[in-house]
């Protein structure tokens, strides 16, 4: 050891060239911790402990003050009006107003799960990884917030607070009137041009409208972006782009259908012998 140390000195490896004011590069030997790290014990552990304690207190106080609901014994012959799903599924139940159950209750939930899962594989934007930023990923943030806050949360709020007997709209301050009847006739899309929706012509037209929605929704932006030589489309590739566009169009189908229903009283766009959309 000593020998090699001497050797180094002989060779003159270390020489003071200059004095620089500032922090030393030398590290304390025992604590192998760099500047942007901290010891888990105690700095993280105590926060976790604190969070756990606060949580426990809040839960216990809450549980002492408010009783969990328990209604009468279940009775299969007595359907409550309205019969509501648990609050976290009310977004789906609210969709039942606008779509048939196979879409609202089965296809949409699956698309939501699939859509969430593909996010990391189609978001190729390298920026905004590990810190809060809106500016660097506007599109991603806007899309997610629209889907999560506007569609999911808002529909839940509507479902919880605004829906009364017959799944009719009641403001929270309005009294629920179980006998209220709203005369509302809805029409299928094709009946606007005088074609019966369950006729063959109606089937063709309705299908064409739906197909056109997805086809043009996918292909038009694609062509536009291609012609502008957009980097996004290059990176994404055709298949991934189509998936993103399809999922996006499905998501937008909900507010579109809501508008069509509320403004034009449209019930179905496409009526087939097997299913209606």
């Amino acid at each position: 050891m000593e020998n090699s140390e001497e050797n180094k000195e002989k060779k003159g490896r270390y020489r003071a060239l200059a004095f620089i004011k500032g922090k030393t590069f030398a590290k304390e030997k025992d604590s192998d911790i760099s500047e942007n790290e901290i010891a888990t014990w105690p700095y993280l552990m105590r926060k976790e402990l604190l969070a756990a304690i606060i949580c426990t207190i809040v839960l216990i106080v809450w549980s002492i003050l408010f009783d969990a609901p328990l209604e009468e014994l279940s009775d299969p012959t007595m359907t409550p009006n309205p019969a509501k799903a648990p609050w976290y599924f009310l977004g789906l139940q609210e969709m039942l107003v606008y779509f048939d159950p196979w879409i609202a209750g089965v296809v949409f939930p699956m698309l939501i799960i699939a859509g969430l899962m593909v996010i990391p594989y189609v978001d190729f934007n390298p920026k905004g990884n590990g810190y809060y930023t809106f500016k660097e990923r506007k599109l991603a943030m806007l899309t997610f917030c629209f889907g999560f806050h506007v569609l999911w949360i808002l529909l839940i709020i509507v479902g919880v607070f605004m829906r009364g007997p017959g799944w009719l709209w009641f403001w929270p301050w309005q009294e629920w009137d179980p006998h209220r009847v709203v005369a509302e006739t809805n029409y299928d899309l094709t009946s606007f041009i005088g074609v019966k929706s369950n006729s063959f012509m109606g089937f063709i037209i309705g299908g064409a409208v739906l197909f056109g929605y997805f086809y043009s929704g996918i292909s038009l932006p694609y062509r536009l972006l291609k012609s502008r030589k957009s980097v996004a489309i290059e990176k994404l590739g055709f298949v991934k782009y189509t998936m993103v566009a399809f999922l996006f169009l499905c998501m937008m189908a909900l507010p579109i259908k809501v508008c069509l229903r509320l403004v034009f009283h449209i019930k179905y766009i496409w009526v087939t012998p097997w299913f209606n959309i």
């Binding site: 942007n36 105690p42 549980s63 328990l70 209604e71 996010i119 990391p120």
Partner: protein, 275 residues
């Protein structure tokens, strides 16, 4: 001979007490005992080495790395939501096990067992409230956690897979909550689950009212809803199925995915942060 030994035994602790005071003596008797040292293999002094050992020599704490990024444990970054979701899961497990002692999943007993919990069992109402509110809270914290992960872009490489694991956790959390809803067997739970599972009727291909279900020979006695409920109506079989899923099946599944989730956080380089 015997006397002498006893003497040394006493004088040893007398000396200790004199030296360190009564509390100090107790302290060193506990924390410097052979038993304590066999359990916790690190000193108590606050040195960097001991700080590290405290984490890595403890099977529960070594879920954490010995040191973390400076910004990672900050409330303003994680909102604590992942950790609180996990904590709520632990609360739910503890209260859930206690509830199981008092609850029988049969049409005849279920509702009245819950009533007994409310009025007969000591602290039963509190127990039930804790379980119920923690479950609701967990749904909310998991949503918030997901939103925070999205807002920080933490699903980006190399954490893509952990995001997907998270989505599974989200779905299982909702399913746990949903299966629990039926167990009280009151009007609320009964009809909520009836409404919910009615949608399964219209599953494409697999439900008897869904697109192409009829063509594939689905009836109310062989479709997917029948499989879920163990019958064509929400009845005793559905209650038992919900119970088994709620107390055994889904907790097992969510535990497995949580293991993967936590393990992956570390394998992916710890909590994300600005590169």
């Amino acid at each position: 001979m015997e006397n002498q030994q006893k003497d040394t035994f006493f004088t040893k602790y007398k000396k200790l007490a004199k030296e360190k005071g009564l509390l100090g003596a107790c302290f060193s008797m506990v924390f410097q005992s052979k038993v304590w040292e066999s359990v916790f293999r690190h000193g108590l002094a606050d040195t960097p080495k001991n700080r590290t050992l405290k984490i890595i020599s403890n099977v529960f704490l070594h879920l954490h790395p010995a040191k973390v990024k400076r910004h990672a444990p900050q409330f303003k970054f994680t909102w604590c939501m992942g950790g609180i979701s996990f904590f709520l899961f632990l609360v739910l497990t503890a209260t859930g096990i206690l509830l199981m002692f008092y609850y029988r999943p049969t049409v005849h007993d279920a509702y009245w067992d819950v009533k007994d919990l409310e009025y007969q069992v000591p602290f039963g109402a509190l127990l039930r409230n804790l379980h119920r509110w923690a479950a609701h809270l967990m749904v909310i914290t998991v949503w918030l956690h997901m939103f925070r992960v999205f807002a920080t872009g933490s699903y980006k490489p190399p954490r893509e897979f952990n995001w997907c694991v998270g989505v599974v956790l989200l779905v299982v959390t909702l399913l746990l909550s949903f299966t629990g809803y039926l167990l009280t067997w009151d009007q609320l739970g009964f009809w909520a689950v009836t409404v919910g599972t009615n949608m399964a009727r219209s599953t494409p291909l697999l439900g008897h009212e869904g697109p192409f279900g009829e063509q594939l020979g689905m009836t109310s006695h062989n479709d997917i809803r029948f499989a879920l409920l163990g019958g064509s109506l929400v009845g005793g079989n559905a209650l038992l199925r919900a119970y088994v899923w709620h107390c055994i099946g889904l907790p097992l599944i969510i535990s497995i995915f949580m293991m993967v989730h936590f393990w992956r956080i570390r394998k992916d380089g710890g909590i994300s942060g600005p590169l």
